[in-house]
């Protein structure tokens, strides 16, 4: 009885080896995909009114790269993806309007009046602001954010197709 089981298993040995090799190819591909998506370049779905008119209200898919912030190549005017200082599970998309050492003057509440506030961006921090000043929670509310919270820089928009191209 056990002889029949053994010969049965031996027949499947070749197939099992092939299956294992194919599965390992798929696993390696998934690992490469994950590393690329997380650390090199990825697509991100962004939505919300805070970056109008640059980004649409109903949602865009943009291509974002995750290499520049590690080499310090993030500059003024870049649209970046940052981890929200208020909620670590949320990523927000804003524009950098001030680097460390810059002095910025902004209107404390654009809906109410013209009272302006002047701040100096401390060392190791950046000032982020949404393009739509009236509907954006940004550094005017929670202050300058540490540079390390930046996780990616937006390159171009890929969806919807009629708005394909760079974000200006």
């Amino acid at each position: 009885m056990s002889m029949r089981v053994l010969s049965f298993l031996k027949q499947w040995r070749g197939t099992a080896k092939e299956a294992f090799e194919n599965v390992s190819i798929v696993a390696k591909f998934l690992c490469l995909l994950h590393v690329t998506d997380r650390y090199i370049i990825s697509t991100t779905h962004v939505h919300g009114p805070s970056m109008l008119p640059t980004l649409n209200l109903t949602g865009d898919v943009i291509l974002a790269e995750h290499l520049s912030h590690r080499f310090g190549k993030i500059g003024l005017g870049d649209v970046v993806l940052v981890r929200s200082p208020r909620d670590p599970n949320r990523m927000v998309t804003k524009r950098i309007l001030g680097l460390e050492g810059d002095r910025l003057t902004f209107s404390a509440d654009p809906l109410v009046g013209d009272a302006s506030v002047s701040v100096l961006v401390p060392k190791g921090h950046v000032w982020i602001q949404g393009d739509n000043l009236y509907a954006s929670t940004d550094s005017r509310h929670f202050g300058p954010i540490p540079y390390s919270l930046i996780e990616g820089k937006a390159l171009l928009r890929v969806w919807p197709p009629e708005y394909f191209g760079s974000l200006r």
Binding site: S84, P85, R86, K123, G124, P146, S148
Partner: protein
């Protein structure tokens, strides 16, 4: 971080999984990315979590002036164990969760 950590160098094991699923608690030793210099990753202890009211002496070497702050939502207050020679939240303020890189488990 004397006396917990040896001043001339330690090798520690830090895990990065728990920061995704739960918030750090008081007393944890965490590796953070410094808000002053993004290339540095100091190791400090979490002394206060969001909502805590922390009273601390601003500069124990020169004076006795106290300051009291409330840790805002989404932030933690970190402090080095050797308060006389530590740049921590008493200097750069509470640190957002996003800057926590991992939690130290044990010394290797």
């Amino acid at each position: 971080m004397t006396p917990t950590l040896h001043p001339s160098g330690n090798v520690l094991l830090a895990e990065r999984i728990s920061k995704r699923y739960q918030k750090p608690s008081r007393g944890d030793i965490v590796v953070i990315r410094s808000p002053e210099n993004p290339n540095k990753t100091p190791i400090k202890r979490v002394v206060g979590i969001e909502g805590d009211c922390i009273s601390f002496v601003i500069d124990p070497v020169t004076s006795d002036i106290y300051q009291t702050i409330v840790v805002p939502k989404g932030h933690v207050f970190v402090q080095g164990d050797y308060t006389h020679n530590s740049r921590d939240s008493r200097n750069f303020g509470p640190v957002p969760y996003g800057l926590i890189q991992g939690r130290v488990l044990w010394r290797v």
